[in-house]
């Protein structure tokens, strides 16, 4: 167990909704996004995308494209395979479902790249791409999970011998005993449709390969996972110490730029081929069809066992996940589900059977929740079903099963630890803020007028700060890494001004600079608005993982704390010398050291810094010049899975909680859902900047609303992508989004600096459950398939009438 921290009672900067440090540049249109970055002599790339869902590539004629004035190179997949190795793949048996930056031999989904063109401008590159003639020999497409599993199904990857790259049955606890003891078992079949982050900015990279030095420099708005960049170096066949990545702010990610590596690989490959700097900026068509970041696409058979009094005992989950043509992150998405598999409830056991299938769709990636949002939705669907079965109030069945505040740290059957919580506190706050009982009264009146008004509530977990072990417990042998570090360097210049250097691609709509500045302000007694935050290139980098799995704020808080402590240790020596005092008699107060009991005898950090920088020879010999320190903050609480994987260890231990109440009205004739009210109360421990947390909650809720009601990457039965652009893939507009009432409760984590828990995936992990429960309540029949489009809801209403 990690050390239980004592959190300071008063904080100067943590907890204040200060203005964000990153905003002025964005507000002025000076964000320095990747597409704003250009270098002289730069080429631009366009991709020839497959028009076929599944086909052999018979031939590719590039001659007309190459002849077009302004075209520098046309590179087919086969040619690219001569200068690159396969793409980094964290999945099981990557050699059996080889993934390359451009397809070789055959294409596996509509939109997969078959050739890349580099030209003097993007427009010319697209003109040339249109002139590349690809001859395909169509193969039968496999789109549906069921067809992929059928005997004799066409194979997506022949080397794999089936379309199932992974299957495993986990049993955590005495599932069968618990089912035998249960009075009631409810079961259901549920479908979660494929949606995705679709940030307004696509992924881009500017690569410049220097033939003289062998350096590959790539500017990029993706790849937060900087500790793993050596894998990209491998793909590009450059030594790992000759790859230097420079981060640019991402214009939104939501997971989609966590590790979108193909864009950088293609840019790097084309720079190597042409000997010139190359920009590859995906357009929206590339991003939707070929961006490697579609979300979960799952079918569940699930049951829940309980006693007559509503005590929930156990759950059996059988899930098939349609991963698409490749499986870059393995089934890490299910590790996320298992981190909070029993939600906030005292369930004793769970069986989890997961089958990954490959089909002719674009592969999955990361989307806000990384699969755990689906687990939340399924669990909450089942809790509601059990409440109906037992004729219990949906609030009361939850309250009855909550893990109690005195039970923390609490280990769930899968092995993960929940650090702290007060779930009833959140629930009560939510009911009050939502005026839940008032709405129940109003609902009765509105129903009497014939209106379909429904109220839905959910109580969900938000696990935060993944440990890398979640990527290897799928295998029998430990295969990999055990931490996911984050680093920072703090430098105090001679004037006492603070610069913080970050080592990951941290800016993607979260507030990394504000967080770091607030922590530096807290630790060093400076005003956060005066902290300068910069980003290092990876080649000069310390270990870093970046945002993802709601980890960054916590991890960087520990890094800042550690670096600040090192600075203070050196500063104390200098102060002791200057004050002619014993170091042990000094205390850190208000941004400086003072002699205990004599507050007037003090040296501020600025005075100390001046001495440290300029007066080395006036100081004791062992003190060298300068005042800077780095700190690598490793994952604070990870334990390893056991050998038979009946206990997965602790891998996602800082667990927030939230309760949402949605009030909807359904149009009985059209099936359209309108919001009458929406309330969200979150507990992510200590809020560093409450306004920012609120912004994450609201934005995440609206994304959850999109996944629930209309967002979906639709492939028809023939494998044709029916939603290739923003005309078909729908984003929620302001008019589709409710005005939220947002509340916070703060139950600190005992294990993190200040007691912070992650909150970045908030909202999207809860909204689908609350909204579906509200629709159920309005129309009297259960939502089983997302998105619940107007047509599907109308079908439900008509089925309820029959």
């Amino acid at each position: 167990m990690p050390t239980v921290r004592e959190h300071p009672e008063t904080l100067n900067w943590v907890g204040k909704s200060i203005r964000r440090i990153e905003d002025p540049k964005f507000l002025r249109g000076r964000g320095n996004y990747i597409d704003d970055y250009s270098v002289p002599n730069m080429l631009e790339v366009a991709i020839v995308r497959s028009t076929e869902p599944h086909a052999r590539i018979v031939s590719i004629d590039t001659s007309a494209a190459e002849a077009l004035p302004g075209v520098a190179a046309v590179v087919t997949g086969a040619a690219a395979a001569e200068v690159t190795d396969p793409m980094p793949d964290f999945g099981p048996s990557p050699d059996k479902h080889v993934w390359r930056c451009l397809a070789v031999d055959k294409v596996r989904y509509v939109g997969e790249g078959v050739a890349a063109v580099a030209a003097e401008s993007r427009a010319i590159a697209e003109d040339a791409a249109d002139l590349v003639h690809v001859e395909y020999e169509p193969l039968p497409p496999v789109v549906d999970w069921h067809d992929a599993l059928a005997e004799g199904a066409p194979l997506i990857h022949e080397a794999l011998g089936s379309n199932v790259p992974f299957h495993r049955s986990f049993v955590f606890g005495d599932v069968e005993d618990d089912y035998a003891e249960a009075d009631v078992v409810v079961s259901d079949v549920l479908y979660w449709g494929r949606s995705g982050g679709q940030p307004l900015e696509t992924v881009g990279a500017v690569a410049d390969y220097d033939l003289g030095s062998g350096m590959m420099t790539i500017h990029v708005n993706s790849l937060t996972f900087t500790s793993f960049l050596f894998m990209l170096a491998g793909t590009l066949k450059v030594p790992s110490n000759k790859l230097d990545m420079h981060p640019h702010p991402a214009g939104g990610s939501f997971g989609a730029k966590f590790w979108e590596v193909k864009t950088a690989a293609i840019a790097g490959m084309m720079s190597k081929v042409t000997g010139r700097p190359v920009k590859f900026m995906q357009d929206r068509l590339d991003n939707i069809a070929n961006g490697d970041h579609h979300g979960s696409d799952r079918r569940y058979e699930v049951s829940l066992a309980a006693l007559r009094d509503g005590t929930m005992l156990s759950m059996k989950v059988k899930v098939v996940d349609n991963y698409g043509a490749y499986i870059q992150f393995g089934v890490g998405h299910h590790g996320n589900s298992l981190a909070q598999a029993v939600g906030p409830y005292r369930m004793r056991s769970i069986a989890y059977d997961v089958t990954a299938v490959l089909t002719n769709k674009c592969q999955q990636g990361a989307y806000r929740g990384f699969g755990s949002e689906v687990g939340n939705w399924v669990l909450e669907r089942m809790v509601d079903l059990m409440a109906t079965e037992l004729d219990m109030d949906p609030v009361e069945i939850r309250r009855k099963n909550f893990i109690q505040p005195d039970q923390f740290p609490y280990f769930i059957p899968t092995g993960n630890c929940y650090d702290s919580g007060n779930y009833e506190g959140v629930l009560d706050k939510t009911l009050e803020l939502a005026d839940y009982h008032g709405w129940r009264r109003r609902q009765a009146e509105m129903r009497a007028e014939g209106r379909l008004v429904g109220i839905g509530i959910c109580t969900c977990q938000e696990r935060s700060v993944f440990s890398a072990t979640e990527f290897w417990f799928w295998f029998d042998q430990p295969v990999g890494v055990t931490s996911s570090p984050e680093s920072v360097t703090l430098d105090i210049d001679a004037m006492g001004a603070v610069t913080a250097t970050l080592y990951s691609n941290a800016s993607w709509g979260n507030s990394p600079e504000t967080m770091v500045a607030q922590f530096a302000g807290e630790e060093l007694g400076v005003d956060p608005s005066e902290v300068n935050v910069v980003y290092a290139g990876s080649n000069q980098g310390l270990p870093a993982t970046g945002p993802g799995g709601s980890r960054f704020t916590i991890m960087v808080s520990g890094a800042v704390e550690g670096a600040a402590n090192r600075i203070k240790a050196k500063a104390a020596k200098i102060a002791a010398h200057l004050l002619e005092a014993n170091e042990d008699d000094l205390e850190w107060i208000d941004g400086g050291f003072a002699v205990r009991g004599s507050p007037d005898r003090r040296k501020d950090l600025g005075e100390i810094a001046l001495q440290a920088h300029l007066f080395k020879h006036s100081l004791p010999d062992e003190i060298d010049s300068g005042l800077e320190a780095s700190f690598v903050h490793d994952h604070p609480y990870t334990t390893l899975p056991n050998a038979d994987r009946t206990d997965l260890g602790v891998f996602y231990p800082f667990v927030g909680h939230a309760s949402h109440v949605a009030v909807v009205e359904v149009d009985p004739d059209t099936g359209k859902v309108e919001f009458l009210d929406y309330t969200a109360v979150h507990d992510c421990g200590t809020c560093v900047n409450p306004r920012s947390v609120g912004g994450q909650v609201i934005g995440g809720t609206v994304q959850g609303l999109g996944s629930t009601l209309f967002e979906e990457f639709v492939y028809d039965g023939d494998g044709v992508l029916k939603t290739p652009s923003f005309a078909e893939y729908l984003l929620p507009s302001a008019l589709d989004s409710p005005a939220l009432k947002v509340g916070h409760q703060e139950t600190p984590s005992p294990y993190t600096p200040y007691g912070i828990k992650g909150g970045g995936e908030a909202g999207r992990m809860m909204a689908p459950s609350a909204i579906c429960a509200a629709i159920d309540d309005a129309v009297g029949i259960r939502v089983r398939r997302l998105p619940a489009t107007p047509e599907r809801v109308l079908d439900m209403i008509e089925a309820a009438e029959d």
């Binding site: 401008s121 993007r122 427009a123 697209e126 003109d127 249109d130 357009d283 929206r284 068509l285 004739d669 059209t670 359209k672 209309f710 979906e712 639709v714 029916k722 939603t723 652009s725 005309a727 078909e728 729908l730 984003l731 929620p732 507009s733 302001a734 008019l735 589709d736 489009t789 107007p790 047509e791 109308l794």
Partner: protein, 301 residues
């Protein structure tokens, strides 16, 4: 997503535009607001060799009420008049409020700042708002060619998906929207999956009531066929009725009868057919209420 190359030509007037179309042949397209055409070109779903820009043609940038010889005063909309200008105009609110309502539902404001009413009609998207409203209220299309102008009644103009009876060498110079007499009311309803997405289905309706009885009606559906669909069967049911709930329900049923709408990701054909009935009912209820109110107001004078 960059447009394929093309040559841009600017026409200062309708006749110059017609002359350019005549000269350039089938490779030329008219560019007015470009809010439908330029996205298609960026997507490389359209690749005309020439664009003839009429957005600054002085003789096409107008919006006024004609003084008709027969007493009717149609709204006359030039091909360069933007949707936003037409939407906000007092002329439109007086003569064709259904058109203002349709435009308000069509695309976002910044798109309506460039997009034109005539361009939307000429583009002939069967799911678009403006063609449906235009056809419902009725009027005519004035087509310009090198040889002169001809007038095409609105009910004859649309002949397929993105297709009209316009000849290759013709452009739409303007449209006239007929004025309906006092005592008329309109209804315009559409259903879309999100507030800003393309409609699943549209119903546009007008009725006129004299002495409590419907003596003129028009019902048009969008999004359920290859063109905006005029539904005379529904109109026949309304004629002579009191435009009460029963008549409206029967008319809505008739409007949806026999439809075989296309399917897409927003909704199946079967759903569209149901929505055609629902939206017709709602649009007619709005129209009846407004017509009744108008008639009552007229009676008091």
């Amino acid at each position: 997503m960059k447009s394929p190359p093309f040559e841009y030509k600017r026409a200062e007037g309708a006749e110059e535009a017609a002359a350019l179309l005549n000269e350039l042949g089938s490779d030329a397209r008219i560019l007015a607001g470009g809010q439908s055409l330029l996205p298609l070109m960026n997507l490389r779903l359209a690749s005309p060799a020439f664009l003839v820009d009429i957005s600054r043609a002085g003789d096409l940038k107008f919006l006024h009420i004609d003084n008709g010889s027969s007493g009717a005063s149609p709204l006359h909309v030039g091909a360069a008049a933007t949707q936003r200008d037409v939407e906000m105009s007092a002329h439109t609110l007086r003569v064709a409020p259904i058109l203002a309502e349709a435009i308000a539902n069509a695309g976002q404001v910044p798109v309506r700042h460039r997009g034109t009413v005539v361009g939307s009609i000429a583009h002939a998207d069967p799911s678009a708002e403006v063609p449906a409203a235009f056809l419902a209220q009725g009027g005519s299309v004035i087509a310009q060619s090198l040889g002169g102008r001809r007038v095409i009644p609105s009910e004859d103009f649309f002949d397929g998906v993105f297709s009209t009876v316009l000849e290759e060498v013709e452009l739409v110079a303007s449209v006239r929207v007929d004025e309906w007499p006092e005592g008329s009311g309109h209804g315009f309803r559409e259903l879309s999956v999100t507030a800003e997405s393309w409609p699943v289905a549209i119903a546009a309706a007008l009725i006129h009531i004299t002495d409590g009885e419907v003596d003129r009606a028009s019902v048009v559906l969008g999004g359920v066929g290859s063109t905006p669909l005029w539904r005379p069967e529904a109109e026949a049911i309304l004629m002579g009725s009191d435009a009460g709930a029963e008549a409206i329900e029967a008319a809505a049923e008739a409007a949806a009868a026999g439809l075989e709408p296309p399917s897409d990701t927003f909704g199946s054909g079967a759903y569209r057919k149901k929505m055609a009935r629902v939206l017709t009912r709602r649009a007619l209820a709005d129209a009846a209420e407004r017509a009744g109110a108008a008639e009552r107001a007229g009676g008091k004078q």
